[in-house]
């Protein structure tokens, strides 16, 4: 089927729209700009249960833009995106979490190098509110023996397999129809893994799940029920096969360890390496030049709170880690609140202030230690907010965001001055 075009707007999937009450995905009159170009305009797409829509076409045609728009990663100039009939993003700036879990594999893997395969896939299961034994799934892709390895230790192809499995998992776990978005899932996969992927897509389709896949690969195009070049669409018949049997069991697993960044910070020690070291350097520098015995009261308070303040200015270590392979985007698609070092920050602040108290006052002061915890946490929150504000840029690391951090010195100085008067 293809394909009516009205005023440059392509309306596809008409058959499924009329036959299915609630499509798993619908894009309505979507317009997206990237750079100075309008990549999609007046774009409509409906994906129903058992659809496998493969987006193909030349580079820059907008395949990844469709996937990322569906995952609510891109702001829309016009139109709206709905999952299971509920709005997830629109051009008015409304963003809502998808009510049903969905699978996502981005063009970049979206994986943190310091996570183990098992940890990452367990997190994906937790986001779906399910649990399962992941070893049989890993085994199908030749990764069972690496389940406890860190993703950073894997080859590029192996890491890609993990990203693809993470994308498929929500459908593999659930007996209910799930939406799966895969951007170039075949890139870097060997023949066996590609065969396993195509087989899984077929079985999952038979079980009622739906796919939107961006790919040029001929084998991937063969497994499509609808081939879409972003302008027109053709339908393909697929042979019947054994439907996938859902492997997940319902369990609400707490994501606290991931959400507070504890899991990432424990394995990387990035919090100590970035924030802790910065604070200790400040303390060391102060002690190298100044004798605490001769200091006035407000100066002493300033010196004690300088270390947690410096640690806060170093930024959120979890956000820093998540810049790797667009992990931050993967998380942003699935949750409204990104993992952050909200637990680590006050603990480090308390510890550094207590250390400062011992060094400058020769005794422990719990009030100053608590204030130090607050100083570090609030500073970290502000730095995180400023840093995340620039994440949408093409080169977020190149922007001089730290020029704005002196905004925090005035409130810190006022707090120190106030505490000095007490």
């Amino acid at each position: 089927m293809v394909v009516q075009s009205t005023n440059g707007r392509f309306d596809v999937g008409l058959q499924s729209r009329t036959s299915m009450a609630a499509p798993l995905l619908s894009l309505v009159d979507v317009e997206v700009r990237r750079g100075m170009s309008v990549v999609l305009t007046g774009f409509n797409l409906e994906v129903a249960s058992k659809d496998v829509v493969v987006l193909h076409g030349k580079n820059g045609a907008g395949k990844s833009t469709v996937i990322e728009s569906c995952a609510r990663l891109l702001p829309l100039e016009k139109g709206s995106v709905h999952h299971h009939g509920s709005l997830v993003v629109d051009s008015e700036g409304r963003r809502a979490l998808a009510k049903q879990p969905f699978g996502l594999t981005l063009q970049s893997n979206g994986l943190l190098g310091d996570e183990t395969i098992e940890n990452h896939l367990t997190t994906v299961c937790s986001l779906s509110g399910m649990k399962t034994d992941i070893l049989p799934i890993l085994d199908a892709y030749g990764l069972a023996h690496r389940s406890s390895d860190r993703i950073g230790q894997l080859s590029g192809g192996q890491a890609r397999k993990v990203a693809v499995i993470a994308g498929l998992l929500p459908a593999m776990l659930s007996p209910q129809p799930r939406l799966i978005l895969l951007d170039e899932p075949d890139s870097g996969l060997d023949e066996d893994a590609l065969a396993a992927l195509i087989s899984d897509i077929g079985q999952l389709r038979e079980a009622g799940h739906a796919f939107v896949i961006a790919s040029h690969h001929p084998e991937m195009m063969k497994c499509a029920t609808r081939l879409h070049d972003l302008e027109s669409e053709t339908n393909q018949e697929q042979p019947k096969c054994q439907p996938w049997k859902a492997v997940g069991t319902q369990e609400n697993v707490s994501l606290l360890s991931s959400r507070t960044g504890h899991r990432y910070l424990r394995s990387t020690r990035a919090g100590i390496a970035r924030n802790g070291i910065a604070a200790l350097l400040v303390l060391g520098t102060l002690l190298a030049f100044i004798d605490p015995i001769n200091l006035e009261k407000n100066m002493l308070v300033g010196f004690i709170l300088a270390a947690p303040f410096a640690a806060g200015l170093a930024g959120d270590p979890v956000v820093y880690l998540m810049r790797e392979h667009r992990a931050v985007d993967w998380w942003r698609a699935h949750v409204n609140r990104l993992p952050a070092a909200d637990f680590f920050a006050p603990v480090l602040g308390f510890t550094l202030s207590a250390l400062g108290c011992f060094l400058f006052l020769d005794s422990f002061n719990w009030k100053l230690s608590l204030i130090g915890a607050g100083v570090l946490w609030i500073t970290l929150l502000c730095v995180r907010f400023i840093e995340l504000s620039t994440m949408r840029l093409a080169r977020p690391n190149a922007v001089f965001i730290r020029l704005l951090l002196p905004i925090l010195i005035l409130p810190w100085a006022l707090v120190v001055e106030y505490l000095g008067t007490l």
Binding site: G35, M36, S37, P75, A394, R395, A398, V399, I401
Partner: protein, 227 residues
């Protein structure tokens, strides 16, 4: 044209401020000679506020209307804000070092908010140069331009609410104002007008350059076969 007139006016202000305007009372200032930097400091700060206003207007026009003119105003406003902000901060530091014995006070609200506005302008100018032009870049920097403008009224009222080190207003001071002698006010007025004309000329040229940059980029895209 504007740049030339403005520049001549600024030079005249400097000459009049240094040679013609009367000296202030030696009892009122720690360093009366340094006070003459006031004829540079206040007009440059005034021009900076005009530039911040243009930056805000441009940011709002781009963010809400997607207006290309708005983006050009944003770019011109950011560059002019940086130039005038640096002039005001630098002259303030020189004056502060002579008058207060310290060039900067981290607990003074006026100093810090104005310094931050200047840093924001620096961030916008350097940031724009580090990014490819596109809606992502324009949206992000326009948002910073909009939020940054909160600091403008805060900077304006800072010395009225929390006068810590920076002196209170000399212009639009309400009932307490009018303390300037007429000759001092005249030099200050010439300075304010000159800086205003200069900054308008600067922004017009900057907008023209941005427009030409956009045309060049469009032409390059056409050569690349894009739209």
């Amino acid at each position: 044209m504007c740049l030339g007139i403005g520049f001549a006016g600024i030079m005249s202000t400097l000459f009049l401020g240094l040679n013609w305007a009367p000296s202030v009372s030696i009892n009122a200032f720690e360093s009366p000679a340094a006070q003459r930097i006031f004829y540079w400091h206040v007009p440059s700060a005034w021009a900076a506020f005009i530039a911040f206003g243009v930056l805000f207007t441009g940011s709002a026009l781009w963010f809400f209307k997607r207006s290309p003119l708005g983006w050009r105003l944003h770019v011109a406003g950011a560059e002019a804000s940086l130039a005038c902000g640096l002039m005001a901060v630098w002259s303030g530091c020189v004056w502060g070092a002579a008058e207060w014995g310290t060039p900067w006070d981290w607990t003074d609200v006026r100093l810090n908010t104005f310094g931050l506005l200047t840093l924001l302008a620096l961030f916008l100018v350097l940031g724009r140069q580090s990014q490819p032009d596109g809606v992502e870049t324009r949206d992000t920097f326009s948002t910073f331009g909009l939020y940054g403008f909160i600091l403008v009224p805060l900077t304006y009222v800072a010395t009225r609410i929390w006068q810590i080190r920076h002196p209170g207003p000399v212009i639009a001071a309400g009932d307490d104002g009018g303390s300037l002698q007429s000759s001092m006010a005249l030099v200050l007025l010439i300075g304010a007008l000159s800086f205003t004309i200069f900054i308008i000329g600067h922004m017009m040229i900057s907008m023209r350059i941005t427009h030409l940059e956009q045309r060049l980029e469009q032409a390059q895209k056409s050569l690349d076969g894009g739209n």
